[in-house]
Point group: C2
Chain length 196, copies 2
DNA sequence: GCCACAACCGGACTATAGTCCAATTGTCTT
DNA sequence: AAGACAATTGGACTATAGTCCGGTTGTGGC
């Protein structure tokens, strides 16, 4: 088994760089938890991590990148469950059941980290649609919706209703329960073949 | 943004204030058209209008408010057509036809002013959901969708697929035609009663 | 016409995201 | 072990959104 495949990044990361990245993530997690994502500036994160601003931005690109890095681990759990976990989220259930399970699980994930996800989606214009995670969800949904006339558009439409910005705005107005029910209904109706 | 800032207030406006507002709108329209909405700073607008920054911000609140003010006239045309125009947009057609007509007309409006609308929706966090226009569209859709289990959520879901941010991201990927078709399909399926 | 007062004005000021580059530090070669 | 080289660092710097407040100017009452 070639050892190269086990090294995290192919070009090795310098130890000081790795230490700094860990320090930044730790400091950011603490500050965000203490004061809320919105209220923490990048300067604060850099200072708390004992690192310069330049380092912070080169590592994570911008604030949305930092948020995305913090979400990375949690995201992978969901992705793993979809790819290799048991049905109905994973393979083995009918498409409509997998779709419902995904919406349900994603909504949980959203509620759990709403502010962070919102930051990762909105800090830069169009950020949401470029990050790898969005592409993953989109691909998954398009496959589940492949019986519809335009699976790709349908997948985007479902994800639009699952954007952090959208859910944040709806939460005080409709409450968690109604939103969840509405999302599941939306997913079900998006599934229907156009056999009217 | 507070609607009060966008409409002429009943208590008479001072003539210098009115002149400044007109100058700002004119200068902003010109600069936005010339250089694109993103590329123009508020300082530039203020300078071009011959007005101080304070004046600019007090009048329009923030950049999204300025964008909304510029859209105001065009928005009213669509709202008027819905309230008092001929069917299928106006009263007199079946709900599903009115819904399709709205999606079609709104999509036209969106394409026509995509950057401005995007600015009015995204400059401030949550701005989109607070502006009066959104409330209008939402109410209209909720009425058309009143046969569904949760008209308010369904209306939000349709509008989520019509957000400027979303359409901007989809346009290069899917193209205008596919998006329009997908939106009409989405609207139709949202309409269906849950008669399963 | 004049006065008082509220509304308005504008630019200096703050806060924050993000850029840049000279100096530093780790790593690899010989 | 030392030198060469590239990756990394960090803080000074820029650009922009948005705030604040002392001075100014309409406006309505007398």
């Amino acid at each position: 088994m070639p050892l190269e495949l086990l090294r995290t990044p192919p070009p090795k990361e310098r130890v000081d760089a790795a230490r700094n990245r860990a320090a930044v993530l730790k400091a950011a997690a603490r500050l965000f938890a203490e004061q809320g994502v919105e209220a923490v500036s990048m300067d604060q994160v850099a200072a708390a991590a004992g690192v310069g601003k330049g380092t912070l931005f080169r590592r994570f690109g911008d604030k949305s990148g930092l948020a995305a890095a913090l979400l990375d681990a949690r995201e992978r759990v969901l992705q793993e469950a979809i790819l290799h976990g048991p049905p109905p989220l994973g393979l083995g259930a009918a498409a409509d059941e997998r779709l419902a399970a995904f919406v349900d699980a994603y909504f949980d994930y959203l509620l759990e980290h709403l502010d962070l996800i919102r930051m990762s989606e909105t800090a830069a214009p169009g950020a949401r649609y470029r990050i790898g995670a969005y592409r993953f969800w989109h691909r998954h949904l398009a496959i589940l919706l492949s019986a519809t006339p335009d699976p790709e558009h349908a997948a985007h439409a479902v994800l639009a209703a699952l954007s952090a910005e959208h859910i944040t705005a709806l939460l005080p107005e409709l409450g968690e329960k109604r939103i969840r029910a509405g999302l599941l209904r939306l997913a079900r109706s998006a599934m229907q073949r156009p056999g009217r």
